[in-house]
Symmetry: C3
Subunit: 162 residues, 3 copies
């Protein structure tokens, strides 16, 4: 019997800890040869931002769109914890423990996800609302909307919203 | 091959942005001819409140139940963002951007959901705990508990908790 | 036709209200003879802490690990609400209403879950990161990682992340 074993994860949250959970599940499934699609929407898009902001890129964003974009974490390692963040101190401490326990950071988890061929999709509607442009996001990702997500979810046996 | 393509979404969160995500997925699936059931529980019930509070309705709620009911957002468009809400300013700004990008508000998404025949169920146990009465909620919804949810989920191929 | 009706729930959140939702769904499914596995990770682990801290247990935790452990709620009934907690006053009030409405507390829901044979798994990686030891957690639970979760999810027809 061939078993359907595709997984999809909607990454809505921009919390460092929830992002870890999402990528640990995704990477775990990919390591077990499952096909995995991650759909990044709203605050989850922050994780896909490039470490270096592209210079000299003009956007036709409105003032309000730029304001949201400006408030969002600059890249994955700047995300806050959902609890005990204390302006970044909590994340700093958690990352120290993670290092001593050989647990990967979100940046490392993203790199592994790309190496394992996990399909990462940025939600274009959310990008419009939050004023995030393609130039700001990492390479190797796809751009689509809810219909694409639903198509992927229909082929999967585990679908999570994180 | 007939494929099972029913979807269920538990709407637990009362955040404006998570509510948008829930209804965009639900409406997207319904537009693709999927059967969709949304189960509103805890803070998610806020979205189903009528814009106008019914006058002259007496309830046998206790003082504590009324207190929770009084703290909850008055209706869908009064929900706060999960991030950058700033006492409603963040939601106000996001809605301005949404309008300019032709993205529907939650109130419009709910209307569309009802037009598309999406089954919306209010969790009766949560209503008791939060002191929410049927008179406060919009028309055209159903009332049930966890057993009904589980029955719907057993028939679906995508089940999300938002 | 024998229908697959196993359920899995990842309990990531440590909020009292989300914990209620998780256990009400889990216990509801178990009451309908479904097999249920709950996987407790990150802040969700707080719910599994013993009411009485074990005395005289030495751990090889680092200072930082002990700090996270020290900040976490002491046991299930000390968890806060995701909204309107007000330093515990909100949870206190909600529990008063729950009692008058005959709604079970999280501690009672956990007891019922164990009586119904629900499999409760603590995520060992999260335990390392948060400095939580086996001695601190209640009896009758299992310990495993993401691969075990994925194995369980592959056998289930409803998989939620709470």
């Amino acid at each position: 019997m061939t078993k359907m074993s595709k997984k999809t994860i909607i990454v809505f949250s921009g919390d460092y800890d929830r992002m870890m959970a999402a990528f640990i599940i995704a990477n775990g499934a990919a390591a077990m040869d499952d096909e995995v699609t991650m759909f990044f929407t709203f605050w989850g898009l922050s994780a896909l931002r490039k470490t270096q902001k592209p210079a000299g890129v003009k956007s036709d964003n409105s003032f309000l769109q730029n304001m949201f974009g400006g408030m969002l974490p600059k890249h994955a390692e700047k995300l806050g914890l959902s609890k005990f963040n204390f302006g970044g101190a909590g994340r700093f401490m958690m990352k120290k423990v993670m290092k001593s326990e050989n647990v990967m950071t979100v940046a490392e988890l993203i790199e592994t996800a790309q190496e394992q061929g996990i399909k990462m999709i940025a939600c274009t509607m959310s990008m419009d609302v939050l004023g995030i442009t393609k130039e700001e996001l990492i390479d190797g990702i796809e751009y689509a909307g809810v219909a694409t997500y639903l198509g992927e979810a229909d082929e999967a046996n585990v679908n999570l919203f994180i």
